[in-house]
Symmetry: D2
Subunit: 471 residues, 4 copies
């Protein structure tokens, strides 16, 4: 659920979450709770654009939902419709100018826009647009999409949108809000989740279904691949498609790591899928051991599954300190080196002289695993058998996850045995790609970060992509 | 671990944690990490008094350890010895004047003082002291204890302290710091935990052993009942006792609820004991069910034990939102009522149509249980069998826990069946007192909140005690 | 100096200040001090864009210079060149998206842009640009200017800039920063001040000369009307002009009210000019009185002049409370009505039974004058003779000052005698337009807010301009 | 008015201001405004104790009045009576434990207590009290006074207070608040100001009369030397005296520097007195010059007087930057050295080639004068004739002003001519002690810091006093 990244500055990070609401009184309040439920998808910044059919209102800022919004600025976000966004903190591209939603002003009608995902051809599109005089103020794909729509001289807005959607390639869930309509758009590969719910007489859309429960909405269905849903302020819904051929390529890491365990993705509960990965790991890679320990919090479900399947008891061998927040200072360099211990404590009396099955959800660079295994060994663990609930991540993601370049992915250059040696485990095993499909009960997922085979065309020159900082 | 209280404003709350360090360079930095590890024992305020053998320095404030301290004020806390304190937020007695440690100034030597626990005869002692001209500036027992010491005209400081200790009755772990010595004192009933560790050439003392791991200290032993440990700035340790008759009456709730799962209390790991309560519950009160769900986070260990013993799989049927902090606003009354849902989400796809064993660590007023069971029922749970890892709490605590008065303790006036009906569970069972002793592998514990039998004399008139706001 | 506006929410407000620096090591630090010296020109927000010839860096935020910037973010603003901006808080158009400088990203070269002033034809230009597909994200004229430059397909950047400058009409001081050059542009009517200084081997430009003193720069000259100054990272300066016909139309209110008394505008010190207005007022409108009182702080200079010329002693009959800041709360409605008294206290022992000459710099709506005169009468003043160091403001400003609409300008609809009656003064006199010219030793100024005669073409339809919120 | 201290960390500083209110609805709101008007007397911390005749309520904190109080905590300060305090930031003795009012809890009745001033015999009294078992938690004289009262076993509270007052020696204005009465006490030498006002049916007391205007109270009279005023919750006032012999020894520096110009001290307006010192300086020490410049803000009045008397025009040759607050950072050491320039700017166009009469209110260490004169010389001043509106400060103050020790007072060891040389002025003159008496129209003042003759007995051993940090 996104926190372990903060802890070890290692794991992959999703770039956002989006939430929309229309035809609901006090839309910005509903939005506030919705964004809060999506907070794990992005902690750098957040924003809301709302409308009362007369004006569009905007508030955004850097920080958590509870830091950016207060009673006063929520009351300024008037109206019965709103879109909102939580943004993940990328290393380089921070800054308030990248916080979404954007509010674009145009003679033909102002509109708010936000998205989750990443376009793979935005650089080229940007170049063309700039050649025609466009100027950009952010590094966001949303701005490219907005320009594409507005460049279209057709008076029919839906046609302009469809034309723009056909020009972009990649993973996206777009929400656009005009004074009278909410547009909900999902890429034809369905790489990022996006679901529709009903709230009183109106509608909500959300990157994850966990936000529906909190606002009291009822899940209706997922947005279809390639679908454009248009919902107006009377609650009228119309559906259209920008692409004829569509695909089921949901990102596997949404199940494994990004999403909240209480969300359902395409009908499958995330916790349940994770627990199943643990079971499958126990079947695929059994080992004699005394206890199963999950790396908190994100690997707890998989550890449960491993324990149940193997009948090896699960123990809280690692404790996460819940008071280590962003404001936590490390007063001196010497103490700073204790960083990991501050955040994760091994429980000596549980692991001492024990053979430990250590379950984690994924390995990116491997540095976290090195530290955790060292902590457990210092606390007296006799053997450490690491089991990973994802296959080896060996290729970068181009669809909105900040996986490192090839160089930084340990599994891109090392065999499983070499990784085991590097992290100093007694044994190491990764679930198979088939195991993931089985655990999620799917026939198709985007598993490109494990296989290097991408569902869309990608950058011709990956090195250039690297240089552009696009992944 | 203290957080569920914030969530539902119901559970019992410990009143503090203490940490001490002596003969260690940069004592205040070690202290900072130590207090941080004890943060779950009190979030209202915290403070440190340090000494460099020339002066005593003090910084304290309201808020979390990471909020009160920063590089600048830690650098003002010079020296090689320090005592520190985290304070729980009581409803009435807040305010900066109650934040500890206190720094008392006296011609015969200034000293810092802090404590964990509660005296049962402080009101009477205070009355006597005031009759002799003492004035008080806080409602803290520490101030009473300080006055008792200083009233003693004897020049031998240790004798004055022993005499004062013999006048007070109740539960306490006291730390006192003069320019050259650290005094560590534990009540003769050993109601509150206090342990000694070694760090390089010096020593640390802590309410819980979890703080040792983080500062790199090695556990030596627990402070004995009735013991006064005096450690000087050269690392010399001497031990004395203020009472001849001492008792083993460790608070059972320290195991069940207050302490961190990675702490060892009197040699027993807390998580291990909790898991064992789950096992015993499963033995004592088996039930046919589909899943076991623990109320996060404090009941996870017990739920694990129940699941393992019963072979009923454990599921994450309730998810806690980790971004609900103290700064979280509830922008409107209407939304405020969604409070519980903000903090705890039922996972519909896991609990729908399931027979659920719901494991919680304790029931105080019962209002939380009502809400959680309602959440689960709304999410489709078919049956809910509640299992509580503590016996019914039927009597107030006088030893530093803010349990409600008799009126507010649901088990003080209702039978188990009546409670079951009130919280709307299909079945309800509490672990037995014997079960707790068995789980903790102890022959003796303070179980007065379950039995009403107290290890010390208490207030003659409990109604008066109520009125005094002493529990 | 801008503060009395905060006090009474009445006075006119300038919309900004700009500062630039190039070929100076640690440009952002110099910038920090420069912006601080210009803080009186805008307190809503501020920002800096810097460059190290490789990248452009940007930090901006809402609040004062000392609130937005800190050691950490200043250190991110690397390089030897920077532009910066302080922004005045307008009622409607707030929000972080309007804080400058803007950082525009474009294939042909990113650039930062900020400005002081207001364009009178931006709405029309915007409409044309939008018709060609441009989208705007702010309500700022800077964005219009940036689009105009980038729409120009010519490869010669200077020609593109000159062409864009010829399309815009109004008052402006523009600073643009690319990776290698600083562009400094002033409108052909020279309505807003902009000066050049030398700092070590590099250059600084500033809205006011008071910022030169603080950064240790030496004043060189004012930027000429219609001039484009291009300074590169080697300190090379080249000058060009976008317009052949240029004019001297410096805003009279810069002398009377906006600028800091220690600034020199076009060679004339502001305090000196203000004091001279007081002298001229004393000559033009003498009166028998006991004391001269200036409204602090902005009218002190004029009051000094009146006192010296009239030989009537000046007294501190009104005291401003310096601790009334933006964070000051007014805990209840009843107390809120005491607002004025909080900020300005009459000194009874000085004004009681006195005939007072009350000197103020200008009257906009008249509501402030009503309150001040009431305060003085309550404190016992026998007669109050108001003398205003500006002529009656009877027409709106289109050049970057938020004067109210005609309806809100008391002198637009009332004669001097009617105003006197409204504010309840015993006599009232305004300096003449000639008096202002004499005091500033100029033959030409923009005095359009006194005369309604504008140096540029303006909106055809002032009501439309009103509606557009352009003044 | 206290700000120049912040600027140059040099000037003398008063230690506090007090305000009281009784028999007025919403006493804490009135208090809030009263303390705000006294903010110049102390910026380190502030507090309020209020009572509704049932309980005493307390809020205090470090920071300005507008920072410590907010709507929420003011609403907790219930009742119709309150006392409040603003505290000056002393170098060593900071910390929340020294912020007043103190709230003392005692069986015979809780009470709040605060004071302005300093006792000269508190160390000895403290020693005696400690020998009898008292413990202190602050370094404040208030705590000593409270212990003296409570040690008294007599049941008559007034007698106990009178007895305690007779034991203390020094300068003080004490306010004490019990549930039903406000006690107002002023030392028999009347060293510190304290005045009584009427507000609706109730009363207010204040260190300075400027606070009356703001809360809408009417000045009645000053508290007499040695007087104890007791006002009850029905508005009944009774007066008594603890001393038979009383004296008029008002601190001269209250007129010269500490108080707000709009306050009247013992019937004399402060601005008027200051202006008069300027006139007298011009008579006593005339000089041929071109302009008079006052050091802002505290010397403006005296400069006005000098200008009027000498007919040399006054100019704003030094401008204070009003945005230099406590939050202002100096991002680098190099820039930090520009500190003075940040705060005070010389106006080159006004002082260049001018003979300047520079008027300041006092010289303590002389370092500020050195810097200001250097600034003016760098800005081109031809001659600088310094005129000081106080006599040379050559002896420490024991009555609540933090003047430096003998070593730090430049006039303690240097003649006027030596000081002139040190500060690099062309001429230097101080007003005479007679001049001060004349300007304030008094026959008697405490002028001990100029003469070394004290109105009370003082420390036997001044070096010891120095060591104790008592002045």
């Amino acid at each position: 659920m996104g926190e372990i990244d903060i802890l070890f500055e290692e794991k992959m990070n999703e770039e956002c979450g989006v939430f929309g609401v229309i035809n609901v009184s006090n839309a910005s309040e509903v939005m506030y709770y919705g964004l809060h439920a999506l907070q794990h998808r992005g902690q750098e910044g957040c924003g809301i654009v709302s409308t009362d059919q007369k004006e569009l209102y905007s508030v955004k800022g850097e920080g958590l939902v509870s830091e950016v919004f207060n009673e006063q600025n929520l009351s300024q976000l008037k109206g019965t419709a709103a879109i909102g966004h939580v943004r993940y903190s990328t290393a380089g591209g921070g800054g308030i100018e990248n916080v979404q939603p954007f509010l674009f002003k145009h003679r033909t009608g102002d509109f708010g826009l936000c998205h989750n995902g990443n376009l793979v051809n935005s650089e080229g599109l940007k170049r063309d647009l700039e050649n025609n005089g466009s100027i950009f103020q952010s590094t966001s794909d949303s701005e490219v999409f907005a320009h594409l729509i507005k460049k279209d001289r057709r008076t029919n807005r839906l046609e302009a949108i469809k034309s723009a959607l056909n020009m972009i390639e990649g993973a996206f869930a777009f929400l656009a809000l005009s004074k009278d309509k909410l547009y909900v758009m999902r890429d034809k590969n369905s790489l990022r989740p996006l679901s529709l719910g009903k709230l009183n007489g109106g509608y909500v859309v959300s990157s994850e279904t966990c936000a529906f429960e909190i606002v009291g909405a009822k899940f209706i269905r997922d947005i279809n691949p390639g679908e454009i849903l248009i919902i107006d302020q009377n609650g009228e819904v119309s559906s259209d498609y920008y692409a004829k051929k569509t695909y089921q390529n949901m990102c596997a890491m949404e199940y494994i790591y990004f999403s909240r365990p209480d969300s359902d993705i395409e009908g499958m509960n995330v916790h349940k899928a994770r627990k199943e990965t643990g079971r499958i790991l126990a079947q695929e890679f059994p080992v004699e051991a005394d206890i199963v320990v999950g790396v908190p919090d994100s690997s707890t479900s998989a550890a449960m599954g491993y324990s149940e399947e193997s009948n090896i008891p699960m123990e809280m061998g690692l404790i996460k300190n819940k008071y280590v927040g962003r404001t936590f200072i490390q007063p001196s360099q010497k103490m700073r080196e204790k960083g990991v211990k501050m955040k994760l404590s091994p429980v000596r009396s549980l692991v001492e002289n024990k053979r430990v099955v250590l379950v984690d959800d994924s390995i990116v660079r491997g540095t976290t695993s090195v530290k955790i295994i060292q902590l457990l060994r210092e606390a007296g663990a006799k053997e450490i058998h690491m089991r990973i609930a994802a296959p080896p991540i060996s290729a970068p993601c181009f669809y909105g996850v900040d996986t490192s370049t090839y160089e930084e992915l340990i599994s891109a250059s090392k065999t499983v045995e070499e990784v085991r040696e590097y992290i100093n485990a007694d044994s190491l095993a990764f679930i198979s790609v088939d195991g993931i499909l089985k655990a999620t009960e799917r026939t198709k997922l985007c598993v490109s970060c494990f296989t290097g085979k991408y569902p869309t065309y990608i950058y011709q020159d990956i090195n250039q992509a690297n240089k552009d900082g696009k992944f």
